[in-house]
């Protein structure tokens, strides 16, 4: 049952995708599908929900801004632009290794998958570290408990950083399973899903940083 090419139904050529537990077989299954696998749909719909969460928070940011004459309120410096923009730019660059990882997975190229995901993981960890330092620096200047500006500013950023952290954890899990168990049909789809997750998180990162920096832009 393992390591063989996918079996066919008596009445036609239909793959039993779950039986593909080697990289080559999984790649063949992925090529033969005519519509996106269920797992991709699941991730895409989950991300619709997450995008809506960010849309809601960003709308709240501008709603609260419209309620306030001074934004940021008096006594709070407008955010500095350089470091956040650079950090976001670096994060967005990880779209490239994630895309290449996804393509490699579909080809069944397991070492390439491991390489690209690891590269992305390192950059993402560096990004998160920088962002945490900036977050703490901001907390020393003003607090969420002081004004609505602080409340939405820190909540929006924290939600984004939480999604980055989640992505990093997903990176680790996917790397471990692809390394240990191999590129089965299940984990091939997982690599593609991981890439899609990061595409969306990267786009959200751009929107979030532009919102965060909007008083200074």
């Amino acid at each position: 049952m393992s390591g063989v090419s996918p079996r066919r139904l008596a009445s036609g050529r239909v793959t039993r995708s779950a039986q593909a537990d080697r990289a080559a077989a999984a790649a063949l299954v992925a090529r033969q599908r005519r519509s996106a696998p269920n797992g991709i749909w699941g991730m895409a719909l989950f991300l619709c929900s997450e995008i809506t969460i960010f849309g809601t928070m960003i709308s709240s940011y501008f709603y609260l801004e419209s309620d306030n004459k001074h934004w940021p309120p008096a006594g709070i410096k407008p955010p500095s632009v350089t470091l956040p923009l650079i950090a976001t730019g670096v994060l967005v660059l990880t779209i490239v290794p994630m895309f290449l990882a996804s393509r490699a997975a579909r080809r069944g190229a397991r070492p390439a998958v491991l390489g690209f995901v690891s590269l992305a993981l390192v950059v993402q960890c560096a990004y998160l570290a920088v962002q945490i330092l900036l977050f703490r620096h901001d907390l020393n200047q003003f607090r969420p408990q002081d004004t609505a500006y602080g409340s939405i500013y820190f909540t929006l950023l924290a939600t984004h950083h939480a999604h980055v952290l989640l992505g990093i954890l997903l990176d680790v899990v996917v790397l471990a399973y692809v390394a240990i168990r191999g590129l089965t049909n299940y984990w091939l789809t997982a690599v593609r899903n991981l890439a899609i997750y990061w595409y969306v998180v990267n786009v959200i990162a751009i929107v979030v940083v532009l919102t965060q920096l909007s008083p200074s832009l």
Partner: protein, 634 residues
Amino acid sequence: MATTSTRNAEAQLDLLERVWAERKGLLGWITTTDHKRIGIMYFFTALVMFGAGGVEALLIRTQLIGPHQTVLSPQAYDEVFTMHGITMIFLFVIPMTTGAFGNYLIPLMIGARDMAFPRLNALSYWIYLGSAIFMYAGLAGGHAPNAGWFDYVPLASKTYDPGNNIDFYGWGLIFNGISSTAASINFIVTIFKLRAPGMSLNRMPLFCFAFLAVSFALLFALPSLSVAALFLELDRNLGFHFYDAAHGGDPLLWQNLFWIFGHPEVYIIILPAFGIATAIIPTFTHRKMVLFPLVALAEILVAFLGFGVWVHHMFTVGYPTLVTVYFAAASLIIVIPSGIQLFSWIATILTGTPEFKTPLLWIVGFIVYFMLGGLSGVALAAIPFDQQVHDSYFIIAHFHFVIFGAAVFPILGGMYFWFPKLTGRMYHEGIGKLSFWTTFIGTFVTFFPMHILGLLGMPRRIYTYPAGMGWTFLNALESVGAYVLASGLVLIVLNLFISYFRGPVCEADPWEGDTLEWSTSSPPPAYNFPVIPTVSSPYPMWDKEDRELDKRRLERGEGLMATGHETLATTMQDAEVDEILSMPSHSIWPPVCALMLFGIFAMLLLHHYWIAFGFGVAGGLALISWHDKEAHAG
């Protein structure tokens, strides 16, 4: 030759039975991923919640039977009416329609063997149960949420509600929302990818269109509620100022975020009812639905347009006229797709040969109340009129007609309709009709006078009222009506309960239904269909050739997919065969993950943030174990 293939078919059926057999005992139920078992668990849990919400309603009506009653103190009254709303909306109607009816019926109607993500399905149920226990823990402890189901700030802020009542609300709703989000994802992927070959999107039953629309609506509406609740909990427990006008925040931010969820929510509540109605009507009128494609489009339009009208809950907050007029116009537009559906149902009943058995009676009742509730809704889109009756009993009348009369009646009718499919027995028709008329009359007597009370100036959410206002008689009448209504509901439960044990055994398709669930046995086997059916119209059971084809394939032992826990995935638009999927069966991880989530929210409520983080880590590990077991053939 025929004998060999028959023996082969029998051997494969045997194999199917064994592969799909549900584990016995309590552990079998706890670890189940079968959509039918999960649907049944949802059903009974939601029924208990309906009872709880009903008791709360009777307490309210008993308190209001006359002026200055002392059945409930003001504090208790506030908790009771708040829990009534929360229970009925979040813990009864949505889980009953999506969790019970949707879960049980969607795979059967589309010719699949399970939902796309069976373990996620189980997780949705256990989270739902957990959130129900979570919120009722507040009531049990004497600090249930008490600021109404839409919980306006600043009343719900820490300053004016210092106990942890509102924290049960805030954290509880976020917790509950995860269940519905997961369920929505599951329904959408199932409906898109697991339909039987030949069931292209335009040949899908209207019931499935309704649930597709509901799922998309839930997916995009729930985040607004979750964000609003998160902001509320941050304000209350960490001293943030989202809603605090004194520090740059805005109480209206809560109202906007809430109603951006809240309005689509009411269409989410009613759309499954539309779906059930469109399943029952063709069956009992023996004709196809008039203008089927337009009805399908209308169902989707209602869900979509419902996102653009939320400020009509806020006509009295003092927004500029231009804003309110825009939202009134948007609210009026939704009447059109509702009207299309309404008159399609009526035209189908009128031009068919209807048999007014119990299920169809409930749908007629639904049509009556949907009209009445819809008409009062149209009146409310007249801004000056709304600005008089907003937050009065007129509003309570309107939404109970649409939520109870229009959303719940099809649920009750659906219980009768699908009872033979789930149990293999028939209910008692005479008592069925009696239960309908009792409930119908009770509903009218309870809620119709509320329109008048609202016009007479009685505000809502008051625990008592003075004598001499002209409100006393109508309130007493409504309270009597509530007891009549309750007895009708009790009759339903008794009828179905007794019929489960003593009802006459009936055939697989007693109604000559049009959709695929009627093609399989009653109750269905664990694998639903021995052979995945072929479909060429939205009324598959009325296509005799297709059903003959299925029978012949079964006799030849073809396409049983008996080697594993398997079902068929097809392409999204035209439902052409794409791949054979291996379904997971039986996992402990969904209930474990739900338990970890419960721990997270309980610890957040108790302000033990590090322990909550610990539960989060445990939950993450449980999720990894979950995915460790890939679904595998054999």
